[in-house]
Subunit: 429 residues, 2 copies
Amino acid sequence: MPTITSVNVIDIRFPTSATLDGSDAMNPDGDYSAAYVVLQTDGDLAGYGLTFTIGRGNDLCVAAARQIGARLTGCDVDELAGNLGGLYRQIMSDSQMRWLGPEKGVVHLSAAAVLNAAWDLAARRAGKPLWRFVADMTPEELVAACDFRYLSDVLTPDEAVEMLARLAPTREERIAELAAHGYPAYTTTPGWLGYDDDKLRRLCREAVADGWTHVKLKVGANVEDDVRRLAIAREEIGDLTLMMDANQVWDVPQAIEWVNRLAPYEPLWIEEPTSPDDVLGHAAIRKAIAPVGVATGEHAHNRVMFKQLLQAGAIDFCQIDSCRLASVNEIVPILLMAAKFGVPVCPHAGGVGLCELVQHMSVVDYVCVSGSLEGRVLEYVDHLHEHFVDPVRIERGRYRLPDAPGYNARMHDESVAAYRYPDGHRWGG
Amino acid sequence: MPTITSVNVIDIRFPTSATLDGSDAMNPDGDYSAAYVVLQTDGDLAGYGLTFTIGRGNDLCVAAARQIGARLTGCDVDELAGNLGGLYRQIMSDSQMRWLGPEKGVVHLSAAAVLNAAWDLAARRAGKPLWRFVADMTPEELVAACDFRYLSDVLTPDEAVEMLARLAPTREERIAELAAHGYPAYTTTPGWLGYDDDKLRRLCREAVADGWTHVKLKVGANVEDDVRRLAIAREEIGDLTLMMDANQVWDVPQAIEWVNRLAPYEPLWIEEPTSPDDVLGHAAIRKAIAPVGVATGEHAHNRVMFKQLLQAGAIDFCQIDSCRLASVNEIVPILLMAAKFGVPVCPHAGGVGLCELVQHMSVVDYVCVSGSLEGRVLEYVDHLHEHFVDPVRIERGRYRLPDAPGYNARMHDESVAAYRYPDGHRWGG
């Protein structure tokens, strides 16, 4: 029986602030970072997971993930893989750690890192990509692995089983379709706020040439700049789809005014117009800026926030994040609620490793939960993929279906050695 | 010019789980703990602050508070005391740390500890209790120290100045009243879930004899037990006021059913009936259980959550917490919003040091913000006060107006030495 012999958590940081990659109105100088978890077994098998941060404080996530992960040392791998719901509940019911949230902030980010590694381990053990590992679970098995606590006023486990069962017989058809055509995506690469107009124009042009149909721009620092930048983008992409992302910089009245100023450029959505905690604020903004849509979720810290965003009619697009939510256990219930409310899931990605992980959740959404691609686009950013053993593959603006076993979170040993903070050699160690 | 020469953050834990003091349906075995911050100056002056946790993970708050507090070393004390709003904004605008929340979890708890110490330092420097230091600020000065970001759809800074100015001329009258009669309080001491029926009965009887008019019981583990315990409490306290606290254990439909089962004992409120993030859930519960009221807030992580609880009509009682919210800077805007909505503020206290700190916020509410005591009661729990240099003083169920300079958060050196984790001698160090 294979056993987990060690849980290593490593602080990895990339000095991205030097190039302004990833710069936006709220986050001018992020150093893309990961609290990277390795579950080592006594055999060849290992599990890899991470949570994503932008620099300072990554050490807090590392420390929390070590505490949360400690319980895994000595665990039987077969048992773990067969009861990922049990592991989740064990982690979430540590009341002393729960006090620090509950289910938010450093502790929840770190729980995500550990659980992502556990799901990766289970999928690798089965020799399957994570999405396939999930798609091979029965509706009952999948629901048993999920957390429906605090959701029963909107979705009960029984209703979830029913929803999953309806689509179960046709899962293979959708898998075949994704294998042939990939999953639709959009690019944020051209639109970082720190890029000058020439670079923006050039990157928009390249995006169109590369087959992208959707391009997203950061906005929110200066309205005149935004008008000019949107005009440039619109000029370059023609009638392709344009999105905007404000990264939480506005109050509610300001968001409405600012977005209405930019509406002539016909953006599909404004992302994170205000505080990610402000469900009612998003609902008010949405009412006032239609037909521009509202997208949010990368900082919505748990399933209870998504439940309310859906209940309040606050969002047109539901942006789950694989590293802020507590892994598959918490994400699948959100996919189910979004499907029930008819809101398309368009995950947040970028950073480091987010694309690698979250692509699996979009596949699960299509194959198992919603059965639809309508209105769905998965974020793509062209940063840092070279550090992953199985990086995402993009072709003509679509994600190719991942086929390597696991959750695609494993980094190259050389990358880990180079960017380990503060002693990796890229940090002068 | 006095200068801050060091920022010490100490991990202090009390082994309260051994006696089941503090046990409730969600938290069966808390070890009351504090990330304790000492701002030492080159003179005699020092500032003391803390955040409260229940054990594991207190080290994460200590580590975060060290990072957040580091910027204070070398600061000029006069400048700091004159610009506490500037310090707050500096801390909150660290975008890399902000990513880990924003404004929630470990980072926000730790920001509270540091800011509490800074306010304590400023008040001590002025030789005033914290409430008096605040009451001596003009409306404009106080508003400048506060954070109104994300609140302007409900309350603007200008409106806040107006509200404060209306009550400013009569502040001294209310201070004189509190000096004479104290601030009304309630006790949670009798009702911990781990206590047996005899202890519950005895403690209720003692509470009545001590002059308490309001008693709160923990509920939510087993409904039959709750019926029996409420009956005992009601028997002992007669027609005095009874409250209940479920510590987040229920889903929305379950909360409604359970509370309606307990309604015959005529509780004033049910506290934390469900997830603290569930604004809309609290609103639904409130509608379904009236005339029993809904109270929540000890885990509402920032001012944006309180804004929504008020907007949605989700609460009858607003329970701020001095260690979860980012100090006076964030609490005063919540007091103002609650006053605007006509919802009484009944702070959360207990734990370690929470009573000492939050009493100042109730005084500020009455003296500067709401001008009313109607429906207000401040929580009191009779634990661990002996570790504080200036502990709260209770007489016949009322808090005496604090008169020592500062925020009352300073602990005895001997207590710090004994309970420092893991090397204090009470921990076997």
